[in-house]
């Protein structure tokens, strides 16, 4: 399940932000790494809502959930199982 979420997310990131898969450190902040900016966060949040049919409320938009690819994947997984 996690692998499927991660693959879809990475597919979106590589396509939307014109980066290669190898350039993405799964444990680091994509903002800190210069891959996305704050608009990128909006794009990713919208993608997650549409692709995984989850609702991302204001209190869930925190660095603990969006701080890296691994954190985003864990967040989506949690939301789907609730």
């Amino acid at each position: 399940m996690s692998e499927n979420i991660q693959n879809k997310l990475l597919g979106f990131i590589t396509r939307s932000f014109m980066v290669e898969r190898e350039e993405i450190d799964l444990d680091k902040s994509m903002i800190d790494e210069g891959i996305i900016d704050s608009f990128g966060l909006i794009e990713i949040a919208t993608f997650l809502e549409n692709e995984f049919h989850i609702k991302i409320t204001e209190e869930k938009m925190i660095r603990a959930n969006f701080g890296s690819v691994h954190k985003i994947v864990s967040f989506v997984k949690r939301e789907q199982t609730q």
């Binding site: 396509r15 939307s16 932000f17 014109m18 980066v19 903002i31 800190d32 210069g34 891959i35 996305i36 900016d37 704050s38 608009f39 990128g40 966060l41 909006i42 794009e43 949040a45 919208t46 993608f47 549409n50 204001e58 938009m61 925190i62 660095r63 969006f66």
Partner: protein
């Protein structure tokens, strides 16, 4: 940028643009990304539906439905017209006067708000703060390289001030929507509307703010941040909506409509701006530093959507200012010619 600049044969992205690759026909990877177009059309359709639902839910419940970031340029003038006439929104227009708006832009602003019956608030940041901010934005590496693919550093500083001023106003007056005149190409298609979660975004901007505080001073917080008291008293953040992305008109269509309001085209701005005299300077600095014009991405997007011809787009960016013509602006900002040439 030299006359020999290699550009995509379909759009105007140049070889200096980050991550660009050309095929054997000289077509760039951005033009070849077919998935992108499908996704974009889906995003627009999705945004239209959700914006309609949001407007139905929140419209007409307070003194104003929306704060409009209104620069007096063609796109924000058209958006203000859409908001009031097509969507029947009660709008409070907000203009941030950066000290470099064309006098004609002010005439356009007054003419338009009068024609549409809209209230207007104007904010003018002190030049003691603004000039050092612009100087720091021009001469130092402040922003994420990703941001600089679609906007110049100086424009981004100015727009950040506008965005924060609009959010502050919306929170203080409990206004549910913030409108801006961004077009597709200036913003990603799945950001046509979004909830403006200040705390979330501000966390990601902290490294940028620290650079600006170091270069300009802690006064940066007055213009780039919102007080803890206001944030703590906020129950829900407003939605930012870019209505122009839903309408998706061509430049000719925009101009034809806004001229009916009495809008006239300023002559003292460059080919990519319709209100700000600082834009030529911004583009010069950006091209000098990054090797490409900050409007390449937006104009290329308009070409792909058949909203602008490649020839017209090339014409817009061709009139690159010479450094000598920027002398009055450099003096006003306290920047030497040498500092610019060394970028």
């Amino acid at each position: 940028m030299s006359k020999e600049t290699v550009r995509c044969t379909k759009c105007i992205l140049s070889s200096a643009f980050p991550r660009i690759q050309f095929d054997e026909k000289g077509v760039c990877n951005f033009c070849r990304n077919e998935i992108y177009f499908t996704t974009e059309n889906q995003s627009i359709a999705n945004a239209r539906e959700q914006i309609t639902n949001l407007l139905n839910e929140h419209q007409g419940k307070g003194q104003y439905d929306a704060v409009m970031c209104y620069s007096g340029g063609k796109d924000s003038t058209y958006t203000l017209m859409l908001a009031t006439r097509q969507y029947n929104l009660k709008v409070l227009a907000l203009t941030v006067d950066n000290g470099f708006l064309s006098p004609v832009a002010f005439e356009n602003i007054n003419q338009t708000v009068d024609a549409l019956g809209v209230d207007l608030i104007t904010i003018r940041p002190s030049s003691k703060f603004f000039s050092p901010l612009i100087k720091a934005s021009a001469l130092h590496d402040i922003y994420n390289p990703k941001t600089l693919t679609r906007i110049s550093s100086v424009c981004n500083s100015c727009i950040s001030i506008i965005n924060i001023a609009a959010l502050k106003l919306a929170l203080e007056k409990k206004i549910p929507f913030i409108l801006a005149g961004f077009t597709l190409g200036q913003i990603p298609a799945n950001s046509i509307f979004y909830k403006n979660n200040y705390t979330f975004f501000q966390e990601s901007r902290e490294p940028i703010l620290n650079k600006l505080r170091n270069l300009v001073g802690n006064e940066v917080d007055d213009y780039f941040c919102i007080s803890d008291d206001l944030i703590e008293s906020t129950e829900s953040y407003p939605y930012n909506i870019n209505l122009l992305c839903l309408d998706d008109p061509s430049e000719d269509e925009i101009l034809a409509e806004i001229k009916k309001l009495g809008w006239i085209s300023p002559k003292d701005v460059d080919g990519c701006s319709s209100n700000c005299r600082l834009n030529a300077f911004n583009n010069f600095v950006h091209t000098q530093k990054m090797g490409f014009n900050p409007y390449e991405l937006e104009l290329s997007h308009l070409i792909r959507r058949d909203k602008l011809s490649r020839e017209d787009a090339l014409r817009k960016i061709a009139a690159q200012a010479e450094i000598m013509s920027l002398k009055p602006i450099l003096e006003q900002l306290g920047i030497s010619q040498q500092e610019i040439e060394q970028l």
